[in-house]
């Protein structure tokens, strides 16, 4: 785009010439520039310069006016049709910089309104001016410069001035620069007048030319093109883009018609002129379209442009001119598109609304055009090279002999001849012209341009994420670099392309790129790269047999066509290079490489390497677990996709345990002295009669190996040696996890399994686990039933040697909660609160009988935490045993898993020997030994009105209430809920604090502690003990302390300490009862004999209590006394209701039921059923009175 002249690239701007008053010019020019649209101004100090400006123009005008534009331009030329041209080179420039649309003449006001002589001068100046500008239709503006606004103006003079200047009043302006406000006003007045007049000028000029176009005054297409162009330019001056576009297009179409009809110039130059103009017109049209945001139209236009000219080749001999032209079209359009798309960001509106021509996405990307520009330039380059190589004369051309320059017409060239002082331009023949163009073309290095454009395209495509297009560009760039013998840069770009082709498995493309890369590395002298690339090529899945075309065909790269033959020849080449005998090394310079005698070549193949098909090593252990020192089979399978069989000198299999490394030797090959440095001397060596890798066939080798060391045994890599200096080290892969080769996986071929055993081929692993040696020590956990909460549960652990001695043994003990939850594993952060552990290890009694404390202090480890313990085991000889006791305490009933593991060394001598581990585990249930429960009993046949019982407080639902200062009974029972017999040693109630003792009195019933309450409890048996409780303080919550139990397992040794368990008694509510109802009746009754049944209502308050009572009849008794009544009981006194009853039935009988209602408390209460019953004997029992008394 830069090669176009400035005036073509930018939209034209109206031009104004200012005369006189040069001190005002800067401010006016500045103001005009800032206008929208801007106006350019030419400034001249006084009117005499008008001739200067228009003189030059006149001259041109004159020459052009003398002749018909097409007939004569050079009088020396005899044939009129061979002269002239379509567009003058400087026409556009002239109108932009020389021919003004308006001439503005500045006159001071005193010249006009003052002295008549000065006025006359003004008049003559105006006349001169008018005569100068009239032929060109240039507009005139007269500006009267006032020195102050108050200046006197003579109306007559002003009219005379207008008349003289033949101007409308609005084009005679006053300019006043004395005051700021006046200045801006004057400036804007001038600007608007200028804009208006410029518009008028360009419109008139346009109209004038347009009329010529419309009249078709001449049939000449040349003129038509020229006129259309001019109309379009004038329209552009007016910013009438639509008309400009229309006329540019008209010009373009007329021009296209000229191809084949025009005969003015020699054939080649004729076409060159047309194409040059077409190019400029196209540029204008594209610019207008793109700046108007009409992307679709612009692209469509470009496509048409390309289509209409791509066949207009001209002379096939000089086709390079055409390619160059085409290339320029694409380049310019790419640049235009790039600059416009920078402003218009989104293509989202680019729907393919134009149904007839569907545009594709890429046609909106500058990258596409850059790429094609490069493509055409490449065509040009090759055409030029062909031309130069074919003709002797073309080669000899050099630019110095000629003096050909562009002529006055666009797209034409002429010879500059010196005639004495003057230079004249002569038209030239086609032969001269082609000589000139060839010499010009030779000066340019097209490759750099091609590379630059392609790189731009590459970057752009990369940004667009069109990676394949980008790869193609990279490939083309690389090819150019390759052509320029720049292997470093070429390699860089070839690699980009190769990576993508590798990834997507485009084998033929990859082959091509690799062929280039291989040559690059050969040129760079990089042997390793060369070998790697050659091997990669050789191992590509190229299966085409046909050798289409000869190898010299230019469409193939240095790698030749992708055929099996090609693979084979490269294979031979590379293997002769790397595997030659030592004595032949000196004679290998024809390959381009020098290898020193002692520089071996090692290739590493990992899992992502493109060389994986060269040597694929799959290793499978036959067993997943092997015993130490035992032989284990391992199958080594090698696969190569090389086209020809290769013979391996030896193979080396490497493991993570280097002692296991072994070597497989090809017995047909001589022993290489320095075989390897990774295999220790004395390691396993296998011999094979032959080690030949046949293409696409697994070479399966099975050997037995032995590992001494327990742990993981993994095969790391397989190293194959070919010849003395060349090794390939391939990473070992498990058959189970083997991935397909990326380039081979889409091939349709027979796939065989890597091992004969199909199971191994599917599940085989390259690693195996070597077991630890069998432990010959026994660890036993002596179990003694379930554990009981609270006791120190002892768990004997015995370590018995049965063949192994035990050295530096360590016993690890772990308690793990079975149910999950409360217990902590040792790995977690341990909060050191004892409460959080429901089960803990209290201690380990390590069998040293506790007497030998010095030993345990000196060296042996003994760590105990709540759920984890570590204890060291003393060294044991064969047959010896050692035991310890674990003490575990349960705080809650919980099942727990006990893990005990012993690690030891069977030999004391070996420093790096591995420990042998034995694991044992046992689940232990922790159980509650005794279930303690309690019950309160109130005094017999004494019922207290306890208000809390009637209206319970919301928070004391299950709380029992006791009357104040009354003796209540507390029955505590302990039930053995285990499956073993327990001995209860003692049970007592103790207060937790002083306050409890003060507020309550608890006594054991039946003597104070001389029978300690010891009892044997069989499973399920219950032990009860009765206490009296006398609360002495009124409190809603009275702590009664807790029951202390001491117990131990029955039958165990009596020396064992008792376990004491606490059971907290519930709190009780103590209150004073206002009314107490006690029933008095004999302990038994005799049928038919009357007895007295008295109900005492005792008022314990200081108030008068009214009590309603109601007595229900009972069937078994005849009753005398009042059934219901209300009685008043005086404070601190008693009221007795007395009844006489005669029993009618024998047996346990319910007494008549009395219901007492306290009016004050609205509370009703009844004696309990048990309390209000009596046994009726048929006759008086024959028992002594003392017995009866105790029964009661």
């Amino acid at each position: 785009m830069e090669e176009y002249p400035e005036e073509l690239r930018t939209p034209p701007v109206s031009l104004v010439a200012l005369f006189g008053y040069s001190e005002l010019h800067t401010s006016i020019t500045k103001h005009l520039h800032s206008q929208q649209p801007p106006v350019n101004a030419l400034a001249f100090p006084d009117l005499s310069h008008i001739s200067l400006l228009l003189a030059h123009d006149d001259q041109i005008n004159r020459t052009s006016s003398v002749r018909d534009p097409l007939s004569v331009s050079d009088s020396s030329s005899p044939i009129p049709s061979r002269c002239g041209g379509i567009l003058k080179r400087d026409w556009l420039l002239k109108h932009r910089t020389k021919v003004p649309a308006i001439v503005a003449a500045f006159f001071p006001s005193h010249h006009i309104f003052g002295d008549p002589t000065q006025w006359l001068q003004v008049c003559s100046d105006l006349d001169n001016l008018k005569s100068a500008i009239r032929p060109k239709n240039i507009k005139l503006v007269v500006i009267v410069v006032q020195s102050s606004p108050q200046e006197e103006i003579s109306e007559d003079r002003l009219v005379a001035l207008r008349k003289r200047a033949e101007l409308d009043s609005k084009y005679v302006l006053f300019f006043n620069s004395s005051i700021e406000s006046e200045l801006t006003l004057s400036l804007s007045r001038i600007a608007s007048a200028f804009a208006e007049l410029a518009l008028a000028y360009y419109r008139e000029e346009g109209k004038r030319i347009k009329s010529r176009v419309e009249k078709r005054s001449s049939n000449s297409l040349d003129l038509n093109v020229r006129y259309c162009f001019k109309v379009a330019v004038y329209a552009e001056f007016r910013r009438d883009w639509g008309e400009a576009l229309k006329f540019y297009e008209d010009a373009y179409h007329s021009l296209h018609e000229m191809i084949g009809t025009s005969t003015r110039l020699p054939a080649i130059q004729r076409l060159v002129e047309i194409k040059t103009i077409a190019e400029q017109l196209h540029f204008k049209i594209s610019t207008l379209l793109l700046h108007g945001g009409k992307f679709i139209e612009a692209v469509t236009w470009f496509r048409q442009h390309k289509a209409s000219y791509e066949k207009v080749v001209g002379s096939t001999e000089f086709i390079f001119l055409h390619w160059e032209w085409m290339s320029r079209q694409f380049l310019v359009f790419a640049e235009l598109l790039e600059t416009s798309s920078a402003t218009v960001q989104s293509f989202s509106s680019l729907n393919q609304g134009t149904a007839e021509i569907s545009l594709t996405e890429f046609e909106f990307y500058p990258a596409y055009y850059y790429q094609l520009a490069a493509h055409y330039l490449k065509d040009k380059k090759s055409a030029l090279e062909l031309l130069l190589s074919m003709s002797e004369t073309a080669r000899e051309i050099d630019s110095s002999s000629e003096s050909i320059t562009p002529s006055v017409y666009i797209g034409q060239f002429a010879q500059l001849l010196e005639k004495g002082e003057a230079f004249t331009l002569h038209s030239i023949t086609d032969e001269e012209y082609t000589r000139y163009t060839i010499s010009e073309a030779k000066r340019f290095q097209d490759s750099f341009e091609i590379i630059a454009w392609l790189k731009r395209s590459y970057e752009s495509f990369t940004n667009l994420k069109a990676q394949r297009m980008a790869a193609l560009c990279a490939f083309e760039v690389a090819r150019e670099y390759y052509g320029l013998a720049d292997p470093n840069n070429a390699k860089l770009f070839f690699d980009i392309a190769a990576n993508l082709y590798r990834q997507e498995g485009w084998v033929t493309l990859l082959w091509e790129v690799l062929g280039y890369l291989r040559e690059c590395s050969r040129n760079l002298g990089a042997l390793k790269d060369f070998v790697e690339l050659s091997l990669e090529m050789v191992a590509l899945p190229v299966t085409s047999h046909e050798d289409s075309g000869n190898l010299e065909n230019k469409s193939y790269g240095p790698g030749g066509p992708a055929t099996i033959l090609g693979r084979e020849s490269i294979h031979r080449e590379v293997f002769t290079l790397v595997c030659r005998k030592a004595e032949l090394i000196s004679s290998t310079e024809e390959s381009g490489f020098k290898i020193a005698h002692d520089s071996p070549l090692n290739l590493e193949i990992d899992l992502v390497s493109p060389l994986r098909p060269v040597l694929l090593a799959s290793v499978a252990f036959h067993e997943q677990m092997i015993k130490p020192h035992a032989l284990c089979s391992i199958t080594l399978s090698l696969l190569s996709h090389l086209p020809l069989p290769v013979e391996i000198d030896y193979l080396e299999v490497q493991f993570n345990q280097s002692t296991c490394n072994f070597v497989i030797r090809n017995s047909q090959r001589p022993l290489w002295a320095s075989a390897s440095n990774t295999v220790q001397s004395g390691s396993q060596v296998e011999n094979e009669p032959s080690l030949v890798l046949v293409p696409n066939n697994w070479l399966r080798l099975t050997y037995a190996i032995k590992s001494e060391q327990s742990g993981k045994l993994e095969c790391l890599s397989v190293l194959a040696k070919f010849g003395p200096l060349f090794t390939i080290c391939s990473r070992a892969e498990s058959p189970a996890a083997m991935e397909d080769l990326p380039v081979w996986k889409h091939e349709n071929r027979v796939e065989s399994l890597s091992t004969k055993d199909p199971v191994l081929a599917v599940f085989g692993q390259k690693a195996t686990q070597v077991e630890e040696p069998e432990p010959q020590v026994d660890v036993s956990l002596g179990t003694s039933g379930p554990a009981l909460v609270g006791e120190n549960f002892t768990m004997p652990v015995t370590v018995t040697s049965k063949g192994h001695a035990v050295y530096s043994g360590e016993l690890k003990i772990n308690l793990v909660d079975v149910g999950g939850g409360g217990l902590f594993s040792p790995r977690e952060a341990e909060p050191f609160s004892l409460e959080s552990h429901h089960v803990e290890i209290c201690g380990i009694d390590d069998g040293a009988e506790g007497t030998d404390e010095s030993e345990s202090e000196t060296g042996n480890i003994k760590k105990i935490q709540q759920s984890f313990g570590l204890v060291s085991v003393p060294d044991l000889k064969e047959g010896e045993s050692w035991s310890c006791k674990l003490e575990i305490k349960w705080h809650r009933p919980k099942p727990v898993m006990l893990f005990v593991s012993l690690g030891y060394l069977p030999h004391c001598s070996e420093a790096n020997a591995q420990k042998v581990h034995i694991h044992k585990s046992l689940q232990i249930e922790g159980k509650m030994p005794l279930l303690v429960s309690n019950r309160f009993m109130l005094p017999y046949r004494r019922d207290h009105l306890l208000l809390n019982r009637i209206k319970p407080a919301p928070d004391s639902e299950d709380m029992s209430s006791l009357p104040l200062n009354e003796k209540s009974l507390l029955v505590v029972s302990a039930k053995n809920c285990t499956e073993i017999a327990l001995k209860l040693v003692s049970m007592c109630v103790e207060f937790d604090d002083e306050q409890g003792e003060a507020s309550c009195l608890i006594q054991q019933v039946g003597g104070c502690g001389d029978t300690p309450g010891s009892a044997n409890l069989a499973p399920g048996e219950e032990f009860k003990k009765v206490f009296t409780v006398i609360p002495t303080m009124k409190t809603p919550k009275l702590g009664l302390g807790s029951v202390h139990l001491k117990w131990r397992r029955q039958g165990g040794n009596t020396t064992e300490a008792c376990v004491s368990t606490k059971h907290k008694l519930p709190e009780v509510n103590v209150e004073a009862s206002p009314l107490v109802m006690s029933l008095n009746c004999p302990p038994y009754a005799i049928l038919g004999e009357p007895f007295t049944y008295a109900v005492n209502i005792c008022n314990q308050t200081q108030l008068l209590q009214e009590a309603k009572f109601a007595l229900a009849d009972a069937q078994s008794f005849v009753l005398s006394g009042s059934h219901s009544n209300t009685v008043s009981v005086l404070p601190k006194s008693e009221h007795v209701l007395s009844y006489k009853l005669v029993p009618l039935t024998c047996g346990q009988q319910q007494l008549p039921k009395i219901t007492l209602t306290s009016v004050r408390y609205s509370a009703e209460f009844q004696p309990s059923v048990v309390a209000s019953s009596v046994f009726v004997f048929p006759s008086a029992p024959q028992a002594d009175k003392a017995n009866c008394a105790t029964k009661q």
Binding site: S348, Q352, S358, H375, Y376, F475, E512, E747
Partner: protein, 140 residues
């Protein structure tokens, strides 16, 4: 004239590529087919922008190169068919017909029980059918 047809798998790997020119431009055609995958990718990823409806397998003109026009077709299994032609004036219906026939031939080829899905198509019958379809292209 059709110069090249190709079947490209869903990992953008070539499954079948056949050129029908006498000249040695197979490599160039491979490049063109490979590059056209970019257009397909873009068209499939941005269906709105390109304005094509994705309900249709026929993708239309992918892009014009200097000498060729490239058309695309995307099957439901994301296998792409690509057609490279030298004709400047191509009727859409011709191309559609071609792709329909080609698709049928492809379905026949991959329905072969001995064909492993995802592998290259090496069936000679398929090659023969394809060359027949290519031969009959544009005749009606």
């Amino acid at each position: 004239m059709i110069v090249c047809v190709a079947v490209v798998g869903h990992q953008n790997n070539p499954l079948y590529i056949q050129s029908f020119t006498d000249a040695d431009d197979a490599l160039k055609l491979h490049h063109i087919v490979h590059c056209s995958l970019d257009v397909i990718e873009e068209r499939v990823n941005n269906p709105k922008k390109s304005g094509t409806t994705l309900n249709e397998a026929f993708l239309g003109l992918l892009y014009p190169t200097v000498y060729y026009k490239v058309y695309g077709y995307l099957t439901n299994t994301k296998v792409k068919f690509i057609l490279v032609t030298t004709d400047l004036d191509v009727r859409d219906t011709d191309v559609r017909t071609f792709f329909r026939k080609f698709h049928a031939a492809y379905v026949d080829a991959v329905s072969n029980p001995f064909h492993v899905p995802g592998k290259k198509i090496t069936s000679r019958t398929f090659a023969q059918t394809v060359s027949n379809i290519v031969g009959s292209y544009g005749l009606n």
